[in-house]
């Protein structure tokens, strides 16, 4: 029952995050959804990732959102009509999820009783060390991209001085 509540709350938060008209509020709803996801992760037996999700997903990302919204400036909260007709959007999203569910859910594998003997650290640093190493590439690429996109350019500086 607890799980049901968590899931319902999580989906509710997510829905609010997507639906809300104010960006800051949406970011906060997203943080809420992220926190509840972290609880769900903990329930699924993944405490380490839950902690990371809590700090990164609910914390860092929210901070970044707030930063971005601050710099970009909140749009005036005019409710604009969706560019894709909303009913169509609902139908297609439901179809995609529904078909996926219809193919996957009835065949949901029975939970394996085997438990992995290895510790998280072992798996992370030994078995899947390549993924971890590649995160470095991802981070370098991301940092360079952000630097490149946000650097105050010469042209920009010129424009602002005018």
């Amino acid at each position: 029952m607890f799980d049901l509540l968590i899931v319902a709350a999580m989906l509710g938060c997510a829905f609010q995050a997507v639906r809300g008209t104010r960006l800051l509020i949406a970011a906060l709803w997203l943080a809420g959804a992220s926190a509840l996801t972290a609880i769900m992760m903990f329930r699924l037996g993944a405490p380490e990732v839950a902690v990371i999700e809590l700090s990164v997903g609910a914390g860092l990302v929210t901070v970044l959102f707030v930063f971005a919204i601050n710099i970009a400036g909140e749009e005036p909260p005019v409710t604009l009509r969706s560019l894709v007709p909303a009913p169509l959007a609902w139908i297609v999203a439901l179809c995609a999820v529904g078909l996926g569910a219809a193919m996957a859910l009835p065949n949901l594998r029975v939970e394996s009783s085997l438990l992995q003997a290895d510790k998280f650290a072992t798996v992370l640093w030994e078995h899947r060390s390549l993924d971890v190493l590649l995160q470095v590439v991802l981070i370098i690429g991301g940092v360079l991209a952000v630097l490149g996109l946000l650097a105050e350019g010469r042209a920009n500086a010129r424009k602002e001085s005018q």
Binding site: L83, V84, A89, V92, A96, L99, M103
Partner: protein, 584 residues
């Protein structure tokens, strides 16, 4: 003397090397470009001529290209060498003629590069015995011809005509492509002699698909019904050199293809009938169109289409020899006609025959040779056109249906009629253009005289030509001596019927005033003919439908991110649905 495979390579590679060199010389040295072009085409022609005594009935050369591409092999038998000689010598004449005609033109390098590249590829097309290579050369000739037609790039008409020619021949080329693919799928290689020797090993339906595919390809390349529209439009090319290449060289490729593969497809049900029908319809229809056109080059282009119809018809009726002999005659007299027409157009700076007239006095030599060519086209004895056309008609009488034969007879009469019409309009009557007319230059004359002599004499070669083609002709085709052949033609009843029809055609021209009423009633046909019997409209419709669908498709790309994501999701839903329904 180099051996045959070296010669084969040389006759392809020399013009190509010349093309590259001329391109590299750049347009600052036009004299050098002219000289290089003449030298390399002459060398190519020499190599092709040198193959004559060494021709071979089996493959020469064997160079692997890679797994799915087979070997480079050549089959320089009589048929192939004959056409290689035709291509190189006519190409050579075209180049010599260009020295005068293209003097002072810009982008000469591009022009000569295309012409020489074309000549080499045409030789490659007829010499190859790997069907893939045949297709490759086929496409290269199409590419060069497109480039030559739209040589005057600043003229939108020329560009459109070039692209039209390219697309139509390519669409037809799909027939050849499918044929080559079938051959590989069922025979495991592209070897033509193997295929010809045992075509019946292929499943009958596959063989039939190949046969009709080849017919489509040949019809497109040789401007036969229903693909005839591109050739007259191709006359936008530099006059008359590329007209010569199109009309006397490239279009032969389709006829060659049918002749080469005749032994394999002979037994395919209805194939011969289809070939005969295509030929007969084309011959008649193009003759009517030639009758109503006022553009000198277009008249000659339609007449080419019509004469090609005769060759295709002959193949369908089983007269391979007749078709190739007519090809020989036609190549000679049509080259003559085009070159003299080029000289005329060069002199008066227009292609409209209504603005010509009375040119005979200013250009006596051109007048004489053009009349010789015209009479050969009309089939007047004893010029070469007479003998070969009679052979075609005789073959058709024996091997084809009666209605087609009657078509061809009418076509022969019409040919005589339009020949007289254009000769009169150009050379006789009152001069209608006030312009100063200058006679043809020396290089032009050098090209004209041998062709006129050829028109007068090539029929004497009939017997040795038959012998020369040798095994390239289908089984049971006994080769006769010149004398026997000529006697056979001279005594055959069809000859007299045909001559009578031709005479009727000539008479109709003299009596045209009296026949005005009849002509008036036939005006409807004339209008239809000048509108190409609606085929131009079909082309236009295809183009506009394609463009309209492209335009409406463009509106679906509205650039909105939400819709783009929507497209991704729809793709996912469709694939999932297919799997859920099909996989469950």
């Amino acid at each position: 003397m180099p051996d045959i495979s070296t010669l084969a390579i040389l006759s392809i590679a020399l013009p190509w090397a010349g093309a590259v060199l001329i391109w590299l010389v750049r347009d600052r040295q036009p004299q050098l470009q002219h000289a290089l072009a003449v030298v390399f085409t002459l060398a190519g022609a020499a190599a092709a001529l040198a193959m004559i005594p060494q021709r071979s009935e089996v493959n020469v050369l064997d160079f692997p290209l890679g797994s799915a591409f087979g070997q480079v092999t050549f089959l320089p038998d009589g048929l192939a060498v004959f056409l290689a000689v035709v291509a190189t010598t006519i190409g050579c004449l075209a180049v010599v003629f260009s020295v005068d005609y293209m003097k002072g033109e810009k982008q000469l390098g591009r022009y000569y590069a295309y012409v020489l590249f074309f000549i080499g590829s045409m030789v490659g097309l007829v010499l190859s015995s790997n069907l893939l290579l045949i297709f490759v050369f086929w496409e290269i000739t199409a590419l060069c011809s497109y480039a030559l037609i739209s040589f005057y790039n600043d003229d939108p008409k020329a560009v459109t005509a070039g692209i039209e020619a390219l697309i139509i021949t390519q669409v037809g080329g799909i027939g050849l492509l499918a044929g080559a693919l079938f051959l590989y799928a069922y025979q495991g290689n592209y070897d033509v002699p193997t295929f010809l020797a045992g075509a019946d090993r292929l499943p009958p339906n596959v063989l039939a698909l190949m046969a009709f595919g080849f017919l489509v390809a040949a019809a497109a390349k040789s401007a036969q019904f229903p693909f005839q529209t591109w050739l007259p439009d191709a006359m936008e090319a530099p006059t008359p050199v590329s007209a010569l290449i199109h009309a006397a060289t490239m279009v032969n490729a389709g006829v060659y293809l049918l002749a080469r593969f005749y032994p394999a497809f002979e037994a395919v049900p209805n194939w011969k009938l289809a070939v005969v029908s295509v030929g007969a319809i084309t011959a008649l229809m193009a003759a009517v169109m030639a009758l109503v056109s006022n553009d000198l080059k277009r008249v000659l282009a339609y007449s080419t289409v019509s004469q090609l119809g005769y060759m295709v018809y002959a193949i369908g009726a089983g007269g391979i020899f007749a078709s190739q002999f007519h090809l020989l005659s036609h190549a000679v007299f049509k080259a003559l006609l085009f070159l003299s027409a080029g000289a005329v157009i060069h002199a008066v700076h227009t292609r409209d025959m209504r603005e010509m007239g009375g040119l005979g006095k200013q250009m006596p030599l051109v007048k004489v040779v053009m009349i010789i060519g015209g009479l050969a086209l009309a089939g007047i004895p004893v010029l070469n056109g007479f003998w070969s056309k009679e052979l075609v008609l005789e073959a058709g009488h024996e091997g084809g249906p009666l209605w087609a034969w009657l078509f061809m007879l009418v076509g022969a009469g019409l040919t005589a009629l339009y020949t007289l019409r254009f000769l009169t309009m150009v050379f006789y009557g009152e001069p209608r253009s006030g312009q100063h007319v200058h006679d043809a230059g020396p290089a032009m004359k050098v090209a004209l005289v041998p062709l006129a002599l050829g028109t007068l004499t090539t029929w004497l070669l009939a017997g040795s030509f038959g012998h020369f083609l040798g095994k390239a002709l289908p089984e049971g085709h006994d080769v006769e001596s010149t004398g026997a052949l000529l006697l056979q033609v001279a005594t055959a009843p069809t000859t007299f019927v045909a001559l009578a029809v031709v005479a009727l055609g000539l008479a109709a021209w003299w009596q045209r005033a009296r026949l005005a009423g009849l002509a008036h009633s036939l005006r409807g046909i004339g209008t239809m003919a000048s509108n190409s019997f609606g085929f131009e409209a079909i082309n236009r419709a295809v183009v506009s439908v394609t463009e309209a669908s492209a335009e409406s498709l463009r509106t679906t790309h509205n650039g909105v991110l939400n819709w783009n994501v929507m497209a991704i999701l729809v793709g996912l839903v469709v694939v999932l649905a297919i799997l859920a329904l099909g996989g469950a």
